[in-house]
Symmetry: C2
Subunit: 163 residues, 2 copies
């Protein structure tokens, strides 16, 4: 992608500062803590859905494998190579590929950069309230609350700050 | 974009058949009737928002200039060159540029391909119900109804089938 000089409502998404980190309990965040998300939808003033330009360096994953109860997700691959993991196994997505994860569909998804180069993609998710997400591979679930996401074990007990 | 062999929930968006046409009254549809929209969000099973891969041939516009009362819109330019028209004037968007049009923001937008080559972009719009759209440059407005969009003059009177 070439840098462009644009004014709102247009934007060069590469001009937006990216954020790293994950709200997962410590034991689950290592794989995705280095993901770099530029919240371009927020900069554009969008509120009904979020749009991130996300960069995964080699070895980084988008998330733990999950699905959302109430929100759809969509991704578009811009650069590089991503492995999409679902119940059906793995497939490789390159520039121009899309994928969609409908609300409530019980098939967890995760993107992993197993290549030697950065991968860059757009991700869109709506802000329909409520629900949570299921993580089929690990002892974790999340519920959306008024105070933000609340991550627990599947039996509802919380993880401590050192877990 | 290179063709890719993918299986759902991933998809090569170029494999989705595009549709042309416009629901505008006849007198307003000429500029955008040839737009080619592949409804990839529907194919992916998404319901909370729509995602189209849209191709504008030279001389074609995305729409009449408009804004939505209740729905956000987002675009990402994949190939080619598009002129974005808003109250502030015109700017040229090329591959990698994004633009966002927040619900209820009274600044009409329109994309026009004034170049000699095809332009290809992604467009995302949420499906928050209700409201309509305003068209600042022409004597038209639209209200969303249970039967779909209802286009009228600004005074609410309908256009006839030959208008």
């Amino acid at each position: 992608m070439k840098k462009q000089k644009l004014t709102l409502p247009a934007l060069d998404p590469l001009s937006v500062q990216a954020q790293t980190g994950s709200a997962y309990p410590n034991k689950f965040k290592a794989i995705c803590e280095a993901r770099e998300k530029a919240k371009i939808g927020d900069v554009l003033g969008l509120t009904n859905f979020g749009v991130n330009l996300t960069r995964l360096r080699p070895g980084t994953a988008s998330s733990q494998r999950h699905w959302h109860d109430n929100q759809d997700e969509f991704i578009y691959v811009i650069e590089g190579e991503l492995v999409l993991v679902t119940d059906a196994g793995e497939q490789i997505l390159t520039a121009g590929a899309v994928a969609g994860f409908p609300a409530g569909k019980a098939d967890g998804h995760q993107l992993i950069n197993k290549s030697d180069h950065d991968a860059l993609y757009l991700e869109v998710g709506d802000r329909t309230p409520g629900g949570g997400a299921e993580y089929p591979d690990i002892d974790m679930r999340v519920k959306m609350t008024a105070d933000g996401p609340r991550f627990t074990r599947k039996d509802g007990t919380p993880y401590g700050p050192d877990e």
